[in-house]
Symmetry: C2
């Protein structure tokens, strides 16, 4: 029996197992569900063992656990670390769910449950692919390690120190991530980059208390005026960031990169209508798509100071504040960026006010995998075989810190290899996963492990 036939024959069993897995309410953000996260870890460990993985272990992290399993009998072949997570988002607002979130329900070849797409349904597919290979071929074409975590939905607080401590256990040549998705049902995609993040707060102080604007206005520096002058100096109206050195370490876009970005469908009209704006910005020299995908940004996320109520209050306020986040691209560094902005702010602070710029938590390095990396080549070949089309190259505006963690601590790039789709309501009520994707995933994993053997 081929491994592919094995997958077909066990489809109904796998579907039952998926429902079982989805019925564990492993919400990592709620302390009351910590025991369910632990149960999900146990379920995953058992499933790895059944699949034929070795040295399967639930490992403590100081927070929610991780599950590890390996098959390392392919000397001379590369080692792949397969990543995914078995924790889920919370379910509120519960009233908006058509079916209880932890009573998985199948309707028209879709399974509805919290975690169905993000990430339990996706996470199971490489385990099933590996099982099919082991049960039919008795071996895997390459070395495989599973590294599945239970704290992704709360920002993986213990993951960085865990990976640092277990560098040898997790050592690998490539990471395949089962957390993510494709462009559409019939269009595959490869994720090339995710942006980094640098967050900061600017606090401006003037007088030692709020003053009467009639009695003091004109002579006493107003921190809101100072703040608006500072903020207005940071960015041009088109969105070019005017901070000295800000673009210094940004890797240039090649013509191929720009062509790949232009190849993604982007209906400006529809995009503008959906969000309700009449024009899009773009840094001079770049399209809006390029700016969204591959250029760094600076956005004021919030601003406040003085009187916010109804009517008039003639106050000259004592303080004003703003929050800013920058999305960074390779090879920008959040610490250096915050330092550059702090210097800029100092230089642009008008007389008479005190200004402090402080870094906020949540900094993330940008991530970029070369388009022609051998991992991407293997993934592209499998996706083209399955979809009949070459994958789009996607660049993500958000941050995916785990990719950067693997690159920094293990020296290994991450290839996103998962089958969720954008409409599957992840983090929202009525999350679902297409069972077609659940059947396709194990096949895709079987194929890519074979491809990677010929690196």
């Amino acid at each position: 029996m081929t491994w592919e036939t094995y997958l077909v024959e066990h489809q109904s069993q796998y579907q039952d197992e998926l429902l079982q897995f989805l019925s564990i309410p492993s919400i990592s953000s709620l302390p009351a569900h910590a025991v369910d996260v632990q149960r999900a870890a146990q379920w995953v460990a058992d499933r790895l063992t059944t699949a034929g993985l070795e040295h399967v272990q639930i490992l403590a992290t100081g927070g929610h656990p991780v599950v590890y399993g390996e098959w390392l009998h392919a000397p001379e072949k590369p080692t792949v670390l397969i990543y995914g997570h078995f924790d889920t988002q919370p379910v509120d607002p519960l009233a908006l769910w058509t079916h209880p979130p932890f009573e998985p329900t199948i309707i028209e070849d879709r399974v509805y449950a919290r975690g169905a797409s993000d990430d339990k349904g996706n996470m199971l597919t490489p385990i099933l692919g590996v099982e099919a290979l082991l049960k039919t071929e008795g071996a895997l074409p390459i070395n495989v390690k599973f590294f599945l975590e239970g704290q992704e939905e709360i920002g993986s607080p213990q993951l960085s120190s865990f990976i640092t401590k277990h560098r040898d256990l997790l050592a690998c040549d490539l990471v395949l991530s089962s957390d993510g998705g494709q462009y559409s049902e019939d269009q595959p995609s490869l994720m090339l980059s995710a942006k980094g993040l640098a967050g900061m707060q600017i606090d401006v102080r003037g007088a030692n208390g709020d003053l009467h604007s009639g009695m003091y206005g004109g002579a006493v520096p107003n921190p809101i005026h100072a703040l608006t002058a500072i903020l207005a100096s940071l960015r041009s109206p088109e969105g070019k960031i005017l901070v000295e050195g800000f673009y210094e370490s940004v890797l240039p876009l090649s013509n191929a990169d720009r062509a790949a970005i232009a190849a993604l469908p982007f209906d400006v009209q529809a995009y503008q209508e959906k969000i309700g704006v009449t024009t899009l910005l773009a840094e001079p020299g770049y399209t809006s798509q390029e700016h969204l995908a591959a250029r760094p940004t600076l956005e004021i996320n919030g601003i406040w100071g003085g009187f916010q109520g109804e009517g008039v209050k003639t106050v000259l306020p004592a303080e004003a504040h703003a929050k800013i986040t920058c999305r960074l691209v390779a090879d920008q560094d959040p610490v250096a960026i915050i330092d550059q902005i702090a210097k800029h702010v100092e230089k642009h602070t008008p007389p008479g006010v005190q200004v402090v710029v402080r870094a906020l938590p949540g900094a993330a390095q940008p991530y970029l995998i070369p388009a022609e990396h051998w991992g991407n080549q293997a993934a592209a070949a499998v996706l083209e075989e399955l979809y009949g089309k070459a994958p789009y190259h996607r660049r993500v505006g958000g941050s995916i810190p785990v990719c950067e963690l693997f690159l920094t601590h293990l020296g290994a790039y991450t290839v996103g290899f998962a089958f969720g789709l954008e409409d599957e309501q992840i983090h929202a009520p009525n999350e679902f996963f297409r069972l077609a994707s659940f059947r396709r995933g194990p096949v895709a994993y079987g194929k890519i492990l074979h491809r990677l053997a010929h690196k």
Copy 2:
């Protein structure tokens, strides 16, 4: 008996009457005290009658009443309208009062009570001065009308329409206001000007809802950025307002005006230390004192938009808002100013956002009386006689709408002629009035009425 001797002989009676008047809790802002405002009106009307005024009436306004009384038997002589108010501020926080606010208490020649200085103590003094003249000389040197109101502390909402409707009744050559004060116990002052007010709100809208700054940042216009660019364009760092036409109708300061402003004591070091700033601003070409006293200002009173909580929220907000007030000087007009600012904002709005500028309530015209006006000359002569010093010329940063009302509707300037002092806790707990001022006021009024006869 001279009128001055009459005043001395009746001092103890007048003090008793003041205590009686101060015990009426005529708080105009609290509906439960409307009946007390009415009682105070009746008390004032009775007192005017006793003093010898004629045609004394309590007149309805649609809100709290006004009291009118007249003595008009000096043909060929000018007519003076004497203004004041018999309503008071509320008393909270009550716990901070050493004595109950409506149980007037005399300690060391000061009377402690709500309304003692603002304005009941002051308001009584012209009535007593007029009484002394009438009782001893049988006539007044000029024609006098009393116009005393009961809604000053709530912004005199019905006063404008009342004055418009009763132009003939109130017709006069000059207004003397018993609401206000002097520079210090031994230094008199004349108020030359008060600033007008134009308040507005700027609302900026971008997308139809808050967006993820990672997914949309760089392409979607951010209303906070737009707002900061707009606001930063309004004013130079020194405080010069950059709105086209803003200074067009500002009357220039003469050398004498500037000398009078410079003559007022202004300890920059002490001023800065008190409010906790290290520098003062000043429009180029003007001193900080000139800017405070006699130049228009534009202050952002409040700003808000997006995320104001702890930590980071990567939001690209849908809207941002700011509140602005301008303090205006003669001959600026609040409606024209708001229009100019709206045009400026429109011109400086970056692409991709919608901006609305709307006027807020509370607009006020600026007020300016010529320094050498005959009313000022008479007041200055009396003050110099009483204090042994020429009065300072003061210009007030706040607004005194009633002066502008009299000027617009009656064509008469207002001379502030009152004896409160800045430390008398008006609008605050433990308000008091110096009995020395209560004795000086009637004398001053007797003298000024005589002076004005020789206009």
